[in-house]
Symmetry: C2
Subunit: 204 residues, 2 copies
């Protein structure tokens, strides 16, 4: 879904949602595109265009009803549909992600984790069980998971992803700093922390 | 620096660099923009445009000399200038980032970490010392750090960032899922893991 929105606009939707959720009733019932733009240091036309993908236009001189705009963004981002995700790689980063409670507000639950290291298998992190990689296929079926977080070393990432493709995973959030070759029906999003810090360094 | 390049192009430079670094001499001395585009599933015109920010054009029908293109990207991204960064928040994510060895390839060293939790102060993670938040100002001066990674809870993030602004930090990589208000001379890049997973979910 959501194929009609440019990825660059899609990426900003959670930013709008976070901001709108941070406001309270004291901030008023309405919010204008100008106020959103100013808070997020974005252009007002851009904000209006982005938001138009998810909801009907704000009222002239009044703006959007904040709660309606939040609901529209949540609907568009699928926050109300519960989606199960699995996690592969229970090293430092994987364990941190397992303990992280922030997925729920987007309707996503990370249900199980898998690791090839026998020392990690059977441990419990953030209330989630770490199982052996041999249990992955079964877990994906059991939870009808379509999303996977990959937090394994770069050298293992492609191999792990091949297993995931085979089990019907079609969305991968990849933290390994390596390019994943994926079939056309799979979307891979990469979070390369070091690259982000390097980009930042070259912007300041 | 690098103010002349659009951020969207800048974001792709580490992707090109990672890919080019993953090739070996057996892949040949030259690489064409078409080959890069195809490997990364990008448009060829886009690749040529992005790379033109960092290096002179490839040779017609031959392409770029791979090692020269790598050197140009490394130069542009400042991989050869050593830059010190500090980290605030030594929880699960902070500790995982401290143990992560991937910053060095961009010339960045995370030198010290700070936390307000006495139980964490004095511990050693990935060879880096975790100090109390009171030691932060001194550490920033000592290491002449201009970059900071913020991995504290959302509720603490703005307060921590205010301290960082005061100490001359001008680039912040923020993992807290909250909007940071920053002075105009500071660049804040946000990595919201949950938002990324939500975006992925709405793309598949």
């Amino acid at each position: 879904m959501n194929k009609d929105i440019p990825e660059i606009s899609l990426q900003r939707l959670p930013v709008y949602l976070n901001y709108l959720r941070s406001l309270t009733d004291e901030d008023g019932k309405y919010i204008s595109s100008g106020a959103i733009a100013s808070a997020l240091k974005l252009g007002e036309v851009l904000v209006r265009k982005d938001l138009a993908y998810t909801s009907s236009a704000g009222r002239p001189k009044v703006g959007y009803v904040r709660t309606e705009l939040i609901a529209a963004l949540e609907e568009y981002l699928g926050c109300n549909d519960v989606k199960n995700a699995i996690l592969v790689g229970a090293g430092g980063l994987g364990r941190a992600l397992l303990s992280y409670g922030g997925f729920g507000k987007y309707g996503i639950e990370v249900v199980e984790a898998y690791d090839s290291d026998p020392a990690k298998v059977g441990t419990n992190v953030g209330g989630k069980l770490v199982l052996g990689i041999d249990n992955m296929a079964e877990g994906i079926k059991k939870y009808n998971a379509r999303l996977a977080i990959v937090a394994v070393p770069a050298s293992a990432a492609q191999g792990v992803c091949e297993l995931l493709f085979k089990e019907g995973i079609n969305g991968i959030l990849n933290f390994a700093p390596v390019l994943i070759s994926a079939p056309d029906n799979v979307v891979v999003r990469n979070i390369d922390v070091a690259a982000n810090l390097a980009i930042l360094a070259s912007m300041v």
